[in-house]
Subunit: 150 residues, 2 copies
């Protein structure tokens, strides 16, 4: 059975985010999936997401890491309660802080793959670490502290 | 005499960045200006830059901080040499790392103002700190380590 993306399981009110909302036609619409204890997102840049000829914009990379990690924190909280994402009572996380380290220029002409893992879960804060790859090359790493707001 | 935006002084090859390039019609096209020892950027979000109803997306905030700070590092290097931005030999910086702390939800229906300041200039790395305001409210702070590549 095909797995739904984490972002596609939210109620409609939570699906308009420019980074990851399925109902934001102007946005990046990234999709994150569980793969064991990791979450994985594969995303194809468009040419206008460039920083420079052939190179993906750092702000787009930051957005991908932010949304992928915050969705991971949210999904992990549901998983800890043994519940389906989006079921009531709703669990919601927002980004408290975001750190991105750019290791290599990221080519824009092929998909990037993000892999994230929960590093620590506290009562109201979850820390998620992430790597962004182009092919076999790790182009950026990131860490998000997500804060529970609902 | 009106001051040119830092981004508008680059040669054409450097004006396609999704965050700040004047020749990227799909991008944010932010503009940064010197104001004494600070650089200032005022930018009006569009409705589709939301994270949630009425709230600006964290990835957009990260992009604004990234591009505003990296342009500041670049402009500061030209200023240190007493030269106009974009003059030969070209000076170029890329983002080495980006940190953003989200303090408050940022309203999407009015302009945000970013203020950045150079914290440290080393031979190949410049650290720039930044605050993002909505009206009088400081909604996010950030720090970029920009790396000289040209």
């Amino acid at each position: 059975m095909e797995q739904n993306a984490i972002q596609d399981l939210w109620p409609d009110i939570g699906t308009h985010c420019w980074g990851c909302g399925k109902n934001n036609a102007m946005g990046l619409q990234l999709k994150s999936y569980w793969e064991g204890d990791e979450t994985v997102c594969t995303w194809q840049p468009k040419d206008y997401h460039k920083a420079w000829l052939g190179i993906l914009c750092g702000g787009i990379i930051a957005t991908l890491i932010d949304c992928h990690c915050t969705n991971t924190a949210n999904a992990a909280a549901y998983r800890a309660e043994g519940r389906e994402i989006g079921t009531e009572p709703l669990i919601g996380y927002a980004t408290g802080s975001l750190f991105v380290k750019y290791l290599q220029p990221t080519p824009i002409d092929k998909p990037v793959v993000l892999r994230a893992r929960v590093k620590e879960i506290q009562e109201r804060k979850t820390t998620v670490s992430c790597s962004l790859y182009s092919g076999e090359t790790e182009c950026a790493t990131g860490e998000v502290v997500a804060v529970r707001i609902v």
